[in-house]
């Protein structure tokens, strides 16, 4: 069954889109990520214009992350204090990102910048997570005692000013660190059309030193608010948010997210991270391959405003 998407201006199969939503929603619930790094390239691949894919995905992410965030909140697995500090940075970053996106598309380099940031960010994060989760899985097998919690933060993090106590995460850290992490993620949401969970989750674990139990919920909470900001800004400036497309993806997404959140409870933290790392590396590898291999047509066209 085909449905015409009023903003994307083409028609696509409803069940295909629902299926995409379910898959991405499942990953979202499982890993506490938006899954945008998969969905946005897939939407572009099936013909949705680039800008519409990015903006609409931000809209869809609100639903998927809200349902995930609520599920984690009921289990008391959200650190709101930490989330709010990151949000301040997120607002600055996403507003900056929407502006940057417009400037890059005018220069015709937006696809390149997006592909390159995917390769670099996904590749680095994937490698780091894979090695870390591999090491901790080995350590567990040898029955070694876990690392002590005190003094986990690197020296440069400990000397920063504006230290705050985050009770839910049981950490004491400079508010600047979550602010900068939030800002960086905000830029990614706007220009890559991703929730930024895949970078926020490892940043929370390795830089902020938050316990894995609250990481997923807090990152989902933060994604809800940032994607709402991006949705609003894109609707206002570029009119590229397709509510029909978003709604179909949402229905699939929320179903998948619930199943994913349940499946995640039965997995160990390092297993979740190991799986996520492999997925990130696979996507990064595919995008790098596309950049390096000679394209079928060296020329491309785009409709340009006057």
């Amino acid at each position: 069954m085909q449905i015409y998407l009023p903003i994307a201006e083409l028609s696509l199969n409803v069940f295909g889109l629902l299926g995409l939503g379910v898959i991405v929603g499942f990953l979202s619930g499982l890993f506490g990520i938006g899954g945008g790094f998969l969905l946005t390239p897939l939407l572009i691949f099936i013909g949705v214009p680039h800008a519409v894919a990015v903006s609409t995905h931000a809209n869809q992410l609100i639903a998927a992350s809200a349902s995930g965030a609520l599920a984690h909140w009921r289990r008391n697995a959200v650190d709101f204090r930490m989330g709010l500090v990151m949000l301040v940075g997120g607002f600055v970053g996403s507003t900056l990102g929407v502006w940057l996106f417009k400037a890059l598309s005018r220069m015709g380099q937006v696809e390149l910048v997006i592909s390159l940031s995917y390769v670099v960010v996904l590749g680095l994060v994937g490698l780091l997570m894979l090695s870390e989760s591999g090491i901790s899985m080995l350590r567990q097998r040898r029955q070694a005692p876990p690392k002590p919690r005190a003094g986990r933060h690197p020296y440069w993090v400990r000397v920063l000013p504006f230290r705050m106590r985050f009770y839910r995460s049981r950490i004491y850290i400079s508010a600047l660190v979550p602010f900068v992490v939030g800002m960086f993620v905000g830029v990614l949401v706007a220009i890559m059309g991703v929730g930024g969970g895949f970078i926020m989750v490892p940043a929370m674990i390795y830089i902020l030193g938050m316990p894995t139990a609250v990481v997923t919920g807090t990152s989902l909470f933060q994604i809800v608010v940032i994607t709402a900001n991006v949705t609003f800004l894109q609707a206002l400036t570029t009119q590229t948010v397709d509510v029909v497309l978003a709604l179909i993806l949402m229905i699939g997404g929320v179903l998948g997210a619930q199943v994913g959140a349940r499946a995640g409870v039965n997995l160990k933290g390092e297993q979740v991270r190991g799986l996520l790392a492999l997925l990130l590396l696979a996507v990064a590898g595919k995008l790098l391959y596309d950049l390096v291999v000679t394209p079928a047509d060296l020329y491309s066209i785009s409709r340009g405003g006057a």
Binding site: A64, L236, V243
Partner: protein, 248 residues
Amino acid sequence: MRVLRTLLLMIALASGCFPLAARAQALVADLSSHLVAITTGFAGTDVLLFGAVEGPGDVVVVVRGPDEREIVRLKGRVAGIYVNRKEMAFSRVPSFYQVAASGELDKIASAAERARLEIGTENLRLVPEVERDPATVADYRAALIRNKEAQGLWGRNVAKVASLGARLFRVNVYFPSNVPVGIYQVQVFLFHDGEVRAAQTTPLSISKVGASAEIFDFAHREAAAYGAIAIAIALAAGWAASAIFRRV
């Protein structure tokens, strides 16, 4: 003097293009529908063009979408990866283009006539905004045609105009689901001995109607409200899912 000359030229051109007044009944054509409505269920559609001719000759149909500006970009290798390096902008590029004919084009119409009437993608007057050497322009031009064909918006092949007896003809013009909206021009020519004997132009409107039109208009007119509603829908969907699944 120059004004007069321009005027005379225009009259000459108009009478060459549309000798309708002189041979009013040589060619009559109409569309099965003058409005292609893009509704929520739109997945591409056929529009039937039918008509009758008086006397011998072949029918050529050209369907053109509204003009737009297209930027063609060329990728080159920089440090091992492919990057957009050069670009050329073309103004007045038809957003949709399809030719149909009752026989082989080069046998029906002379090369001069095809060029004058822009029949066939090779005859489209695609002029770059900034002047460049002809070889480079030709490369970009070919790329523009190739990409438009790949998008399904320019016909790769000449569609077949079917003849029913000696006088009647019909042709189905297919519009894919990604068809741009706007006012289209459907030009019908009657050729004989390589020359145009009669011509007729019929407008065709392609527009969104119903829910999809309202959503599109609302998104552009009330952008802030649209954004707020998009957020509200998403939050409601997320909350509803979470509430439902808690009970399961």
